[in-house]
Symmetry: C2
Subunit: 379 residues, 2 copies
């Protein structure tokens, strides 16, 4: 008897131009175009195995070791239904194809980064399902420097540039501790669409200009413009969250302090006649993603570690500190008073990565479901 099972890994995407709010919550069509960067799966990835089998009684999902409920009418149920619909079209055209669309599926997904990092893990998890339905998914699939269009009847991802175009762009993820339970991004988005007087102005008058300018900046490898727009758009996204009734906050005092540090780091460079050297961006959570050309990452890690002492040694995947000790430090001319040093644990971890590739199909050896169709036990 045949086993209908596939395993794939998908990257994390971080948006530089954010979309927030949906025109269609079932199909997850966004209210505005967005632009995202795919990060390297060598450092951050979601691996997912899915199997369709006539012996399965119902659709089931395990996320990072725990079974999750598939809620009627929820995002996941919609994805599975759409996936089965696409499969049905294939089966209709080729009557010899097995009728997988009539089987229940088991899906097992696992991230290699802390779920608490809140790094669009749902998007990367869904991407690995290979469904071609949700835009977050589509953006993940097409990866690299991808633009997600919202101005037609379809929600389409367009590649602005391949990974190889600008491999010099690195990312430092600051995993920020947060005591507070945040607003889920799905319910938050709808509240913003319904209540923020500023959101429509952003969608109609701000995002289109920024999409054009940042795409040009990426093609021209103009980091200064890329950084400026990325930071402005992160801030405007959080501004419309705050303009929501009741307001939504994702950034906390640690996030604010990282913004102050990057702002001062850039100010020093500009004052010396240089350009912007780093850009922060925040998704629907307190974690910072700092983009920078590789040559600046050493200074940035030193600066972050000075204000946010780390419990664990820095995993230095690119050998920035190969021959030296990592000591907290700021560049000459830096006003150290722009932020106060925090306790160990305020930034729980630092992940250094870079622009990466799209989803990868993996072999059976990397499958997460065992022969019995249930998750393998992980040591």
């Amino acid at each position: 008897m045949s086993v209908y099972q596939a395993t794939a890994s998908a990257p994390v995407n971080i948006a530089c131009i954010k979309y927030w709010g949906k025109r269609d919550t079932k199909l997850i069509l966004p209210t505005n175009s967005s632009l995202s960067v795919t990060l390297d799966q060598d450092h951050l990835r979601s691996t997912t195995t899915s199997r369709a089998d006539p012996s399965f009684e119902k659709d089931r999902l395990w996320l990072n070791g725990s079974e999750e409920e598939i809620k009627e009418g929820g995002r996941l149920a919609t994805c599975i239904r759409e996936m089965k619909g696409l499969r049905r079209e294939v089966e209709a055209k080729n009557p010899n194809e097995p009728k997988l669309s009539t089987y229940a599926v088991h899906i097992c997904s696992r991230n290699n980064f802390p779920t608490a990092a809140g790094l669009a893990s749902s998007a990367s998890g869904f991407a690995a399902l290979d469904l071609h339905v949700a835009p977050s998914l589509v953006a993940s699939l097409h990866g690299r420097w991808a633009q997600l269009q919202a101005d037609g009847s379809d929600s389409l991802a367009v590649e602005v540039a391949p990974q190889s175009h600008w491999p010099d762009i690195h990312a430092l993820i600051c995993v920020v501790s947060d005591d507070k339970k945040g607003t889920s991004s799905t319910s938050g988005m709808q509240r913003t669409v319904e209540t923020s007087p500023l959101l429509q102005h952003r969608i109609k008058h701000v995002v289109p200009k920024r999409m054009k300018a940042i795409s040009e900046a990426i093609l021209a490898k103009d980091f200064d413009t890329f950084a400026r727009i990325t930071m402005q758009d992160s801030n405007q996204f959080h501004a419309v969250c705050l303009d929501t009734d009741p307001p939504i906050f994702y950034m906390n005092d640690v996030s604010r302090s990282i913004i102050a540090l990057v702002t001062e780091y850039n100010r020093v460079s500009v004052e010396k006649g240089g350009k912007l050297k780093a850009a922060y961006t925040y998704d629907a959570g307190p974690n910072a993603v700092i983009y920078a050309p590789k040559e600046n990452v050493r200074e940035i890690v030193s600066m972050i570690v000075k204000y946010f002492p780390q419990a664990e040694p820095f995993k230095d995947p690119f050998g920035l500190f190969a021959n030296q000790t990592l000591t907290g430090n700021v560049v000459e001319g830096f006003n150290a008073a722009v932020a106060k040093p925090f306790e160990v644990g305020a930034v729980k971890g630092l992940i250094h990565t870079r622009v990466g590739d799209g989803p990868r199909v993996l072999g059976e050896g990397e499958a997460l479901l065992g022969a019995n169709g249930l998750p393998k036990v992980v040591a």
Copy 2:
């Protein structure tokens, strides 16, 4: 020989519809209309004595016991120059009037609340100078429920309603500790005008509707509408600060938690079929001002104290807890998990006050300058 000296006290004003950004920085003409509430001077006031004397060598100012520099071209220098100009007009019409406009002035001002509270103390200090120039000043002078117009050639304060119209509205000020040096509101405003794409939309399309609606709500004593607009406008003001490049933050994690508490407190009321019971608002700092009908203040104080334990006993000017101990408590049905309890000192103090009157002229006994024209030594 005559002594030309006057002493007055002025209240603190808290804006419900905020203005942010100036069309004319010297005359401090605002970019949009605003609406503010005058708080009771029995609890919060600035007292100022000013004297003009031919023996004084230059204009001097003491604020809360320390001499402040009067910077050329700065806000204070402008106020003093405008004041002397008005005096000159009086002298031109009445040749018998002493030529005070040619004398230097000594000004001594003192708040009865912590300066760190950041409660528009500059506005109330200036108000006591009786200058009739700066709009913040004008709003202070006319007090009560005042509307500050920005749509004509003049910047004029209009009384929406006198204090006696709605005396039931009380205010609880939560003085929030902040380690960070914030952005001065004067420089912050200009940066927002220059860089925020959302500010102009707010000025043109959001504020006019809110001004009309909140004025009607005040006249109708409709606290539900008043509260909703006040909270929305506070959030939108901080949203345009965040939309500034680089972004401006005034609220911190303590401010965010107070918002979460008030939001939950209102949610419980609405769920029970009631209306909004409290409204928060934040000026250019982390302190919360919570407006509420007097009957709700007891519940609100109990709620705040539960999450923000106080080092000092609550000064209970209205006898809310006259016969009971103040214990931290929330109303039935309240989800206690919306915020986490903070350490003692996160909220440094609670000030309970209410809607109040305009400036008061005080007697010589309350003068802050001694016979020698210098500040009296305060025990």
